[in-house]
């Protein structure tokens, strides 16, 4: 069964039971540097492997970039 989530404002299909880490990998974003907010709450890095996405989840995926 396919679920819908929103990543950085864009609709994204995910498989039922798919973990956050698996989605990041699929999006071409290494979990090593991805910073994630799920439904307005920051997600601890150590939980990326265990968080299973749910229908309607809203994710913000960010990372460190050059800045002063």
């Amino acid at each position: 069964m396919s679920l819908r989530v929103v990543v950085n404002g864009r609709d994204q299909a995910v498989e039922s039971g798919e973990t956050l880490a698996a989605l990041l990998e699929r999006l071409g974003v290494g979990p090593r540097y991805a910073l994630v907010e799920r439904n307005g709450e920051p997600v601890e890095r150590r939980r990326y492997e265990e968080v299973r996405l749910e229908d309607g989840d809203r994710l913000v995926v960010a990372r460190p970039v050059a800045g002063g």
Binding site: N8, L35, P64, V65, G68
Partner: protein, 259 residues
């Protein structure tokens, strides 16, 4: 240097008093080389949403493992936005240190003192080590110290302007009354500006544009490192007081023509 004159922030000792930003370099390779030449041990990064169409490279792969990454809250215009950004960065594995910037004004990029103080209080409460970027305001400095900030970082001149210590007199008052390290951040365009800030008694300076946008960023990074060291040593050595009239360096008697 680390042993005899360490720069201590929140109980952590650093050998270098030059903090650097990672923005505005032509490439990550150029950035890495300049950071190495600067000797910096604290390096700022920004936090932004990933463009999923072009995820690009990972800046952290170009930063030496031994430097402390200092995420900033640039792009935030309110305390709530800054707190949200800091929480996201920490949860995702960046250090729990944050360069707090709350900037509602796009033209001069001047920080909002009220929102900055509000965000600082919340973040300290949540266990962050907070380094706020502020206008040189000695009253605000005291309030930020009271809520538990680890440093206070007044700007010398607007970000990227390269104009040097335009607000020198206010910064001098802040140096005089500082109870946590004072870091002059933003607006330093030349190594002489950095040396001047250090001679004045600043504990450290933060430089980005002046190095990143130099014709030769590696050489400029080295020049800033030397200037910061020179300025610090001069401050510790004790500058002579200025006076209005001359005072001869050579003996006033026994000149050859005297009879």
């Amino acid at each position: 240097m680390a042993e005899r004159d360490a720069f201590v922030v929140a109980g952590r000792a650093f050998g270098s008093r030059l903090l650097t930003g990672t923005g505005k370099y032509e490439s990550f390779d150029a950035m890495r080389d300049a950071l190495a030449a600067s000797g910096s041990e604290i390096v700022t990064v920004a936090v932004r949403r990933i463009d999923l169409d072009s995820p690009d490279g990972d800046i952290t792969a170009f930063l030496p493992a031994e430097v402390l990454l200092l995420p900033n809250t640039s792009g935030c215009e309110t305390a709530d936005e800054a707190v949200r950004t800091a929480r996201l960065a920490r949860a995702g594995g960046l250090p729990d240190w944050v360069k707090l910037e709350v900037i509602p004004d796009p033209r001069y990029l001047l920080p909002d003192p009220v929102e900055t103080l509000r965000a600082a209080a919340t973040l300290v409460e949540e266990g962050f080590t907070v380094l706020p970027y502020v206008l040189p305001d000695p009253v605000l400095q005291k309030k930020l110290e009271e809520v538990g900030c680890a440093t206070v970082m007044p700007l010398a001149a607007p970000i990227g302007s390269g104009r040097g210590l335009k607000l020198r007199d206010a910064i001098r008052i802040m140096v005089e009354q500082a109870e946590v390290p004072l870091v002059v951040d933003a607006g330093l365009g030349a190594p002489s500006h950095a040396a001047e800030a250090m001679e004045l008694g600043a504990d450290a300076v933060l430089v980005n544009t002046a190095i990143a946008r130099a014709d030769d960023p590696v050489a400029m990074a080295r020049a800033f490192r030397l200037a910061v060291e020179a300025g610090r040593e001069a401050f510790v050595a004790g500058l002579i007081p200025e006076q209005d009239s001359a005072e001869a360096s050579s003996p006033l008697t026994g000149a050859i023509h005297e009879s």
